[in-house]
């Protein structure tokens, strides 16, 4: 019963975020994940349909009508289309990468707890002439995404996930002597994950890759309060502010930051770009939030940053 209640709380927080962002696709994507999960637990589809109907009935009574209309529309459409919602069955992220073999060996080493060996593989690739950029985009990025996929499939433990991410952070820090030695070209970026977001590696990659391109990047990391981001923007006067979240119900925080910087004096030229899972699901979400651009991965983010400042 408790689990059931917990599930409904999750459904409602995703619904609330989707309604406030007017993005039905975010809720649909979440429902697709729920459908896969319930299916793997062997729970009948009817349960979820009843659940959706109950939520709709209760919300139509309890919510102020302007919200109730949207919330019930999302719930009712999802219920009617539930049978046709595709299951989340992603392919492995490691296939198709030009360094698939290295990425596979790297992730396996980390999953086995052999971080020194994983680090050695990366350093050897670097010595053999692989660029930092290729390692980021074709080894570390797909490995992290694959790790997330395996976690969703319940094939890796929480401990393994945290270990692999920490090991990758450490390995990335070994690139710093290479990353920070490039000539500057007078472009500045401030990057931050707003709210209590634990997923910070993607944005760190974007910052490092732009630093490699000669940008001055100020990476604030995750869990930065709104005031901290605004203060840094004021101090550094960046050309671009990059924001990233993975959890859908953190998107509201991104909106708060964008509204915050837009209302600051002297930020007329500041461009804001956003990224992370919710933006990949709802391709128009960045516009809703008032951002200047969106990129689906670290590689495209560097291209977008240069485009936004007209390089």
């Amino acid at each position: 019963m408790q689990t059931c209640l917990q599930d409904i709380r999750y459904h409602l927080s995703y619904l609330a975020e989707s309604v406030s962002l007017k993005s039905r696709s975010l809720f649909e994507d979440y429902m697709s994940w729920v459908k896969s999960l319930l299916g793997s637990l062997g729970l009948p589809e009817e349960d979820m349909l009843i659940n959706l109907q109950c939520m709709s009935e209760v919300l139509s009574r309890e919510l102020p009508s302007e919200y109730a209309v949207i919330a019930c529309e999302y719930l009712d459409k999802t219920r009617l289309e539930y049978k046709d919602i595709p299951l989340k069955a992603q392919e492995s992220f490691l296939e198709g990468s030009p360094y698939a073999e290295l990425a596979r060996r790297y992730l396996q080493a980390l999953l086995d707890g052999r971080r020194h060996e994983a680090s050695r593989m990366i350093m050897e690739a670097l010595e053999e002439g692989t660029t930092v950029k290729d390692i980021y985009l074709h080894v570390l990025q797909p490995s992290q995404r694959e790790l997330g996929r395996l976690w969703q499939l319940n094939r890796v433990s929480v401990a393994q996930e945290h270990y692999c991410t920490a090991a990758t952070q450490l390995i990335m820090s070994q690139f710093y002597p290479l990353i920070f030695r490039e000539e500057r070209k007078g472009l500045r970026l401030v990057a931050a994950c707003p709210a209590d977001e634990l997923h910070e590696l993607g944005l760190r990659m974007v910052s490092d890759l732009l630093e490699l391109e000669g940008w001055d990047t100020y990476y604030l990391g995750p869990n930065v309060p709104l005031s901290g981001i605004l203060r840094t923007v004021e101090e550094r006067r960046p050309h671009i502010l990059a924001l990233s979240v993975t959890i859908t119900y953190h998107v509201g925080e991104v909106l708060a930051v964008i509204e915050g910087v837009r209302s600051m004096a002297g930020t007329g030229d500041l461009k804001v770009m956003v990224g992370g899972y919710p933006f990949n699901i709802d391709k128009g979400l960045w516009k809703t939030l008032g951002a200047d651009g969106w990129a689906p991965d670290a590689g495209e983010a560097t291209v977008l940053a240069e485009k936004l400042v007209g390089v």
Binding site: N154, V158, Y176, F180, E211
Partner: protein, 368 residues
Amino acid sequence: MNEVFPFLVIICDRNGWITRVVRDDAGLVAPFPLPRPFAAMVTGEERTKTVNLFSELRERGIALGWEFNLPMEGAIRTFHFYACAVGEEFLVAGAESEKQVTVLFQQMLEMDSGSINATLEAVRVLMARAKERSVRESDLYDQLTRMNNEMAAMQRELAKKNAALERMNEEKNRLMGIAAHDLRSPVSTIIVAGRFLLSALADRMSDAERDALHAIIRYGEFVIRLIDELLDISTIEAGRLELRLQDVELVRLVEEVAGLHRHLAEEKGIELAFAPPGEEIKVRADPAKIEQVLNNLLGNAIKFSPAGTLVKIEVSGDEDRATVAVSDQGPGIPPQELEILFTPFGTTSVKSPWGEKSTGLGWPLPAA
């Protein structure tokens, strides 16, 4: 009886949800969060049958020999279940061999109800503890990751600042090199002009005027030396120092340098002693740089030695290495200041008895 069968012993609530696992050899329930419907374990078409199992349990308090097909390791395996009510809950036991499960069930039923309740209570406490621990651990993992994230962000900031400092230092060296170079020629002109005046006006000057001119020349030479040392430091720090290596006879070189300093030492009442070894010592070196190093070492020794003391030079060597040692009887350097000795412009608390100035470059250069 030798064959090992996997057992499943679980506690379910009255609605057929598994609330606790007592034994789960095959990992049928363990990977999933509890409570979990018993129906979730069986294949699709048998779900209604599980409803019937629990109806019977609720009605009669016992259900014996129910078969269910469970997907396990990619195959379907048939389990036999025996179940009975214990208080408000149901004890459900299952195994692939009916014989095994009846034996197990028999044993459990033979326990008096007090023992069963005590066992259940113990299981309940253990489960509650495990759940609490798992929640706590998950929270700790998140905390650890937060700390790690913060440290990673700080480390990145440090690495970035470090790189910026290195760049600024290189720029400083470059500017210092340019400034020193630009200063050198006007100061040279001052010295040349001073020397010219000294010889041209030799007969017409008072002693005070001659002293003043000497001071101009001496301080001019001091500034030139300072500039040359600055230029060397910036070259060395910028990593651009090139050595012009050639075959050098070390004993003769030391003798020449010592000769240049002997006069100054004698003026101060300091004895400069050099006893050359009987044989030549050939080394591969840049003679100008070796001379500069020796000049610094001897200059320092004479600068800090009081009158009436000895400055000793020793040269020795074999096939692999040659050593030139300069020792004096001056005050020495306090041990706690040895570290700053080799940093550019770092001067120690030791004062020259002759009131001479220190540039702070005398030691870093030979060390470089």
